[in-house]
């Protein structure tokens, strides 16, 4: 019986892994080609957009597990296991952030500018150090949480992969001290959520808002982490739905679990819409030129206005109208389509916020084949991390997967 279990996960994954590795590599090479070309700022812009998007997705997806654990919700144990798979992207994200350093002269247009005292905050050494430290702490908390959770989820009866063997060696006997593990998990989950809010707010302020150093909005930090939750839940739904529909594993979700997850997604769609509107209304109404130039450029001048409308339609109107109907929330195929569209919308949203800083006097549509190729590379890298994690811990996909007691 054991051999049957060992065979199929590997079989299902192999070609997918190869494709994603190829795409990731191709994307990276293409990026290097563009970055060393005549318009490096365009390449670095796409890099930043993708870094922000996929980092948010992974952080938001893991947040699902930490929230459920912290509030002692019981309905979604195995889903939490899948959510934790997204933490595999954390080390990748950290490396990508270090790569961002190489493009600093193209990304940070305020270098060398007179910022009337803001230089105490906006200077390269301080900025990179604080974000690096923040990300390191956040990722450390997240990975620590996941490792503790794996103590419950893994079983010796399933095939032992390399990483599992490493963990089992470290734990000696994984069945003792489960109470202590659970308390540690709660502790780490709480601090992860706290750090999530602060670090993502910091990332939002430093890597997005300050790219236009003369504009500011107090809600921007919170807006950034709400985006991460909304989009991260979307990514989780896609992963859960794909695993549910795939015949290569035994992971299934009940209709009501799916519906609850989709309802959460719907709720955060509205929260995101509300945060967006709160910024927009205040800036529109006050009509202060310091604040409005940023908004006017991005929502009322071409070519940005069409992207802005696309974001609004795809990220808010579409999920709101469609998900009012309960039936769609229970259909995995449908949710995959909706969530994919929303995440694409968020790619556009990040692009919309950042691109006007770099592409002045842009003619024609600013998104072309370059952006698509590099984005596919990032997407493949992201998917690769999650798939490799699930390959290392196939127990998470079994129907008798251990649950955090």
């Amino acid at each position: 019986m054991n051999s049957a279990i060992t065979q199929h996960p590997a079989a299902g994954f192999k070609p997918v892994l190869l494709i994603f590795t190829f795409l990731a590599g191709a994307g990276f090479l293409y990026f290097v080609y563009l970055a060393t070309g005549s318009h490096p700022e365009k390449a670095w812009l796409v890099f930043l957009v993708n870094f922000l998007l996929f980092t948010s997705l992974s952080l938001g997806a893991l947040l699902f597990s930490t929230i459920m654990h912290f509030t002692q919700a019981k309905w979604c144990q195995r889903l939490a296991g899948v959510a934790e798979a997204f933490s595999a992207f954390f080390p990748v994200s950290l490396v990508l952030f270090l790569v961002l350093f190489l493009g600093r002269s193209h990304l940070f247009t305020w270098i060398g500018e007179d910022l009337h005292g803001k230089e105490a905050w906006l200077n390269i050494p301080f900025l990179f150090t604080r974000i690096l430290v923040g990300l390191a702490i956040l990722y450390g908390l997240g990975i620590g949480y996941v490792v503790h959770s794996l103590k419950f989820r893994l079983s010796r009866k399933q095939d032992i992969t390399r990483l599992k063997q490493f963990l089992f060696n470290r734990w000696q006997d994984p069945s003792t001290g489960l109470d202590k593990t659970k308390r540690h998990m709660t502790f780490l989950a709480g601090w992860y959520m706290f750090a999530f809010a602060l670090v993502l707010a910091l990332v939002g302020f430093d890597l997005v808002m300050s790219m236009d150093p003369h504009w500011y909005s107090t809600l921007f930090g919170a807006y950034t982490f709400i985006k991460a939750i909304y989009a991260g839940f979307g990514a989780l739904i896609i992963a859960a739905a794909v695993l549910h529909l795939s015949s290569a594993n035994r992971f299934t979700l009940s209709g009501s679990q799916f519906r609850d997850l989709s309802t959460l997604f719907f709720g955060f769609a509205i929260v995101w819409g509300d945060f967006f509107y709160a910024q927009f209304l205040v800036i529109w109404y006050g009509n202060i030129p310091e604040e409005t130039t940023y908004i006017i450029e991005r929502t009322m001048t071409s070519p940005w206005s069409s992207i802005a409308w696309a974001v609004f339609l795809v990220c808010f109107i579409m999920p709101f109208v469609v998900l009012l109907r309960g039936k769609f929330k229970e259909t995995p195929q449908f949710m995959i389509v909706i969530c994919s569209l929303v995440i694409t919308g968020f790619w556009l949203e990040h692009f919309l916020l950042l691109a006007p800083n770099y592409l002045h006097g842009a003619h024609g549509f600013p998104i072309g084949i370059n952006e698509v190729v590099i984005t596919i590379g990032f997407l493949s890298l992201f998917a690769l991390s999650v798939i490799l994690y699930l390959k290392q811990f196939p127990d998470l996909l079994e129907s008798e997967a251990g649950e955090v007691v």
Partner: protein, 439 residues
């Protein structure tokens, strides 16, 4: 909680509705006297004019607005508990949902009263309503003040209907066990409810829809209240974070008020088995969460004030902490962000006295926050020669206490004449827990 039977719940709640003692009526009378004094002062203000309040150039919005925002905030956490936690299926809401929803209805009424007081000539309130008139004049729907009217009246209407609907099955219980006049009254109130399966199906669906509609309403109402300030250009007011910050702050103060109300209620009515310490502890844990959000908002505002390099913004926030109203500012910060962190200690959040004391501090802190925001910005905005000072007058203090007297008066009447714990929801909770144990 699982040891309780349906009948125990019924009797625990129904015994609170027996004939009240003279001591009870003395408290009601005291509150009523407070209301009379308040009404007397209002009559005085109507005859003498708004000058009896301390408002003057440059501070035209004083304690009347502070109290308005304060009471709307209190109302919000009632809806959080009864509607939002219902959607999240948090069982700890069931024992306190009824009292919380009642708190909402009364708090909205009191909140709505303050803008009327602030009008001065209350009888011209109809100017703000879209009533057809000879001069074809209509309200300016672009103004956040008009948003307020629409939002608060919607909130009051929705909350009252939600409150009443929730009580119908409980009214049936009282009807079936009462006699005489009380039976007649509750027969009318219960609307002929008999708990048939078809009735329950529709009722449950309607209740779910109520909860689902009340949730965005809560968020929108306090966002609208925050936009009364944020849509102007005054420094310290014109900031995008106000909407979620106010909503979080409202829930923060409202939850504290829930603790302040529930703790005496459960003692006086012997509800210890129903409103258990675990329920109060859950409220305390949520207060930690909302306190952190409020702290995050404080920190972000200060940071962005510095980041903006705008001398007006920087001066405004420096003055809040070190200017004429520094005491209020530091009370605000300590009571709202530091003191709730004490709830992280299990011993503190599971004992009645610390819970009660900290809840009072949070309420004081949240009142101070509205003071700091409203007065602190208007007294000290763009032009130094327009800077001023404001102190509430004794009349305004009476108006403030009057609001509390009205609330206590109404709540006392409610507690002794209507079921203060939802018997039906408690039974549903027990039933749900029993089903879980069987699995």
């Amino acid at each position: 909680m699982s040891q309780l039977t349906f009948e125990q719940i019924n009797s625990a709640v129904l015994t609170t509705l027996i004939k009240p003692t003279p001591r009870y009526w003395r408290f009601v009378g005291l509150a009523f006297v407070g209301i009379l004094i308040f009404l007397g002062c209002w009559a005085y203000q109507l005859s003498m004019g708004l000058g009896v309040a301390g408002m003057n150039t440059p501070v035209h919005w004083g304690t009347y607005l502070i109290n308005f925002v304060f009471w709307v905030g209190i109302a919000h956490s009632g809806t959080l508990i009864s509607a939002i936690l219902f959607l999240f299926r948090a069982g700890w809401r069931n024992p306190i949902a009824r009292a919380a929803e009642t708190m909402t209805v009364f708090a909205v009424m009191i909140a709505g009263m303050y803008p009327l007081i602030h009008l001065g000539r209350v009888w011209v309130v109809f100017y703000m309503l879209p009533l057809p008139n000879q001069r074809f004049l209509w309200p300016n729907f672009q103004s956040p003040l008009i948003f307020d009217i629409v939002a608060i009246s919607t909130y009051f209407t929705v909350s009252s209907m939600f409150w009443y609907t929730g009580m119908v099955p409980d009214f049936a219980i009282i009807r079936d066990r009462a006699e005489g006049v009380r039976k007649k009254i509750f027969s009318a109130l219960a609307l002929g409810w008999t708990g048939e399966t078809g009735q329950w199906l529709n009722y449950s669906r309607g209740y779910l829809l109520f909860a689902g509609l009340a949730t965005p309403l809560v968020i929108s109402v306090h966002s609208v209240v925050s936009w009364d300030f944020a849509l102007g250009v005054t420094p310290g007011w014109h900031t995008t974070i106000f909407a979620p910050y106010f909503v979080a702050g409202a829930i923060h103060s409202g939850l504290a008020m829930v603790l302040t109300l529930m703790i005496p209620l459960r003692k006086l009515f012997h509800y210890e088995k129903i409103i258990t310490v675990e329920v109060l502890e859950s409220v305390a844990k949520t207060i930690i969460f909302t306190g952190l959000i409020v702290g995050f908002a404080y920190g972000t505002e200060i940071f962005i004030a510095w980041y903006s390099r705008s001398i007006v913004e920087m001066e405004s926030f420096w003055w809040r902490a070190f200017g004429d109203y520094d005491i209020q500012y530091w009370i605000m910060v300590i009571c709202n962000t530091a003191i709730p962190l004490l709830f992280l200690i299990k011993k503190i959040r599971t004992r009645i006295i610390p819970l009660f004391i900290i809840s009072i501090f949070v309420n004081i802190g949240m009142w101070m926050e509205r003071f700091v925001i409203i007065i602190g910005s208007v007294a000290h905005d763009f032009l130094p020669n327009a800077w001023g000072h404001y102190s509430p007058t004794p009349i305004e203090f009476v108006f403030m206490l009057g609001g509390f007297c009205i609330f206590i008066f109404l709540f006392l009447l409610f507690a002794k004449h209507l079921p203060s714990v939802s018997m039906t929801e408690m039974k549903e909770l027990i039933h749900h827990e029993e089903e879980h144990h069987e699995h």
